[in-house]
């Protein structure tokens, strides 16, 4: 009797430790999620701010604000970059407890990214800004080439810094706008890159991207020399 009880006792103790472990893990997740959500909110607010300012400046037909707007968009893009890293880690780690929360966060993040891209395109037209904008379509799972392309883009971003803005779009995110952009730019495979309305499918090597960027920038910057 006593011997058989040992199995039940062991089960109860293990279950206790197990539940505490899961509880700690879940709370860490919650903490990370809340941090992520507050940062997303901050970015959302700055996007709204840009939209408002653009509306105001467009009405006044003021062009002196270009530098100011460009700076805000760039800062937003940098914030989004940081969020992207956080989100990809968070989504990888929360498949068990995150569920729909993770999907919603991804959607919110992607919407912000697209909004930021649209704003940047408008600023480019409005102010003649020469920043290179890259739309990067990738797949989070089962795409080794996407990892390589991501690395290439990271290196490119490191050398061109604020002269290049990259908008990575995960095709798995359930957002109709992704489909719209993919069909508009004729993107059928991943990885694909869209630079100045031109689509490049498959891995685009760093040298080629540098050439394209330099021809667009047409500037004497260190990365192009």
């Amino acid at each position: 009797m006593v011997r058989l009880n040992i199995y039940t006792k062991a089960f109860l103790i293990s279950a206790g430790i197990f539940i505490i472990g899961i509880f700690i893990g879940m709370n860490v997740e919650k903490f990370v999620a809340s941090d992520f959500i507050s940062r997303t909110r901050y970015v959302e607010e700055s996007v709204q701010e840009i939209e408002l300012e653009m509306l105001y400046f467009q009405g006044l037909n003021e062009t002196y604000s270009c530098n100011f707007l460009g700076e805000i968009v760039r800062r937003t893009n940098n914030n989004l970059d940081e969020l992207s890293g956080q989100l990809s880690r968070y989504s990888e780690t929360n498949v068990l407890f995150g569920g729909t929360d993770v999907e919603n966060l991804k959607k919110r993040y992607t919407s912000l990214l697209i909004k930021d891209w649209i704003l940047q395109e408008r600023i480019k037209k409005m102010c003649g800004d020469k920043t290179v904008t890259i739309l990067y379509f990738y797949d989070r799972r089962g795409c080794d080439d996407c990892i390589i392309q991501g690395n290439i883009l990271s290196i490119l971003k490191n050398s061109f810094r604020e002269k290049i803005m990259i908008f990575p779009l995960d095709r798995r995110v359930d957002l109709s706008m992704i489909g719209v952009l993919m069909s508009r730019f004729n993107v059928t495979t991943v990885p694909s890159i869209v630079i100045e309305e031109k689509t490049y499918s498959g891995i685009v090597v760093g040298e080629k991207l540098e050439r394209i960027a330099c021809s667009i920038l047409n500037e004497n910057i260190t990365a192009c020399s």
Binding site: R3, K9, S14, G21, D81, N94, N151, G206
Partner: protein, 417 residues
């Protein structure tokens, strides 16, 4: 998702086993180191099968002959199993040792030959690479005063712990010694290793050592259990075994053991889920298979991730110059680095494992057992410090060997003793 469920399930199994052992230790503290003096000394025949053991056989026989046991009650029979070296010649130099020769290869054949000549009421099986403590027999023989005891095994220490592999094996043997003692309390000891296991001659004469499986010591143990006898373990009687040196020898030994384990659980499948053997049939054997499968699962995940990363790493060189690769730091653009395990679930996982492990170590600390095994405090601490490495590196190595053993059994690979 499947991966994380697998991690959590295995964490639960891991903690369950650790807690189960902890409870066993705590509930049986008084039974772990029982000592009694023998009232009578029955005649014991020690069987030493040997094949090409010229390096060790001399020392083994010397240690047996110097055991503190009435000389007229001790019979030593060495069986040369087709050696091509000086084994036979060395044995013949010991006048008190009966030398037999068995040309049919296989340890079981050699043991049966020895058994046919043995006159002792109790028979001991001893490998030619094992040394015994002087008091080994006296400290175990009293168990046979209980007529329900069919066999007694002892406490095996490592004789040559040189090198990292040797140290890992020492830690492994330490844990194995404790677990063997614990499961013997539950009458579930499923092996009588050749490190001086004592067996009742009348029982094994009926059963006989069998060549059906690669580990005749497990086969005979399970047969003894099935006959309704107990197999007990003595932590007081010590023998020293020579462990294999180098990976190749270790792999050879382990694959034989693991294949033997599989063969024996199949041969004695009637023990599984058998109410007569609740601990062995419902927990120990099923759990052994579950932990093996979990280990193989972990190994597969690690290898899969490693090869995927390697493939990606090699492929990257075609697109990214080496200098740039080195400058890469985890950036903001999704690079989708393969994450072995989710970091937050990892926190749960680490907590679960470490807690249960600490509990187990704590319960071990309550015993004089760890001192007994690790000789002194300093070495004990040093060996316990090795545990994390043991768990990581050696564990995966052992799992790799389990994979080979399973594969060989599945494809009925040729057996080698």
């Amino acid at each position: 998702m499947i991966r994380i469920i697998f991690y959590l399930l295995s964490a639960f199994v891991g903690i369950y086993i650790n807690v189960w052992y902890m409870l066993l230790i705590l509930e049986n503290k008084s039974k772990l180191l029982t000592r009694k003096k023998a009232k009578k000394f029955p005649k014991v025949s020690i069987l030493i099968p040997a094949r090409n053991e010229e390096k060790n056989i001399g020392d083994t026989i010397k240690s047996v002959l110097s055991m503190d046991y009435p000389k007229d009650k001790l019979e030593v029979i060495a069986i040369d199993n087709g050696s091509t070296d000086r084994t036979s010649e060395i044995i013949s130099t010991f006048k008190k040792v009966k030398l037999l020769s068995e040309r049919k290869l296989g340890k079981a054949n050699a043991l049966n030959k020895g058994l046919s000549m043995a006159t002792g009421e109790i028979v001991g099986t001893l490998d030619a690479d094992t040394l015994v403590n002087k008091d080994c027999l006296k400290k175990t023989i009293w168990y046979f005063e209980d007529q329900s005891v069919g066999a007694v095994t002892n406490f095996v220490k490592v004789d040559n712990e040189k090198g990292l592999l040797g140290k890992f094996q020492k830690v492994e043997y330490a844990f194995s010694a404790i677990t063997k003692k614990l499961i013997s309390i539950l009458n579930s000891m499923y092996t009588t290793p050749g490190t001086l296991s004592l067996l009742r001659r009348d029982i094994i004469q009926e059963i006989k050592f069998s060549n059906d499986t690669l580990t005749e010591d497990m086969d005979i143990a399970l047969s003894i259990i099935k006959k309704g006898y107990k197999i007990v373990n003595s932590l007081d009687a010590v023998s020293y075994t020579i462990i294999p040196r180098g990976f190749r020898n270790l792999a050879k030994q382990r694959i034989r053991w693991y294949r033997g384990f599989i063969e024996n659980t199949i041969k004695h499948a009637d023990l599984m889920l058998n109410k007569r053997f609740p601990h062995l049939g419902f927990f120990i054997f099923p759990m052994a298979y579950i932990t093996i499968l979990i280990g193989i699962g972990f190994l597969s995940i690690v290898l899969l991730d490693f090869f995927n990363s390697l493939q990606l790493f090699i492929k990257s060189f075609f697109y990214i110059p080496i200098a740039d690769q080195l400058s890469l730091v985890p950036g903001s653009i999704p690079r989708l680095d393969s994450i072995l395990m989710s970091s937050y679930s990892l926190i749960s996982f680490i907590f679960i494992f470490s807690t249960s492990f600490v509990l187990l170590l704590y319960s071990l600390k309550l015993l004089p057992l760890s001192r007994l095994y690790f000789y002194d405090k300093k070495r004990c601490k040093r060996d316990i410090a090795l545990l994390p490495f043991y768990m990581l590196g050696y564990y995966f190595l052992i799992m790799l060997l389990w994979c080979f053993a399973l594969f060989m059994e599945l494809f009925r690979w040729k057996k080698k003793w």
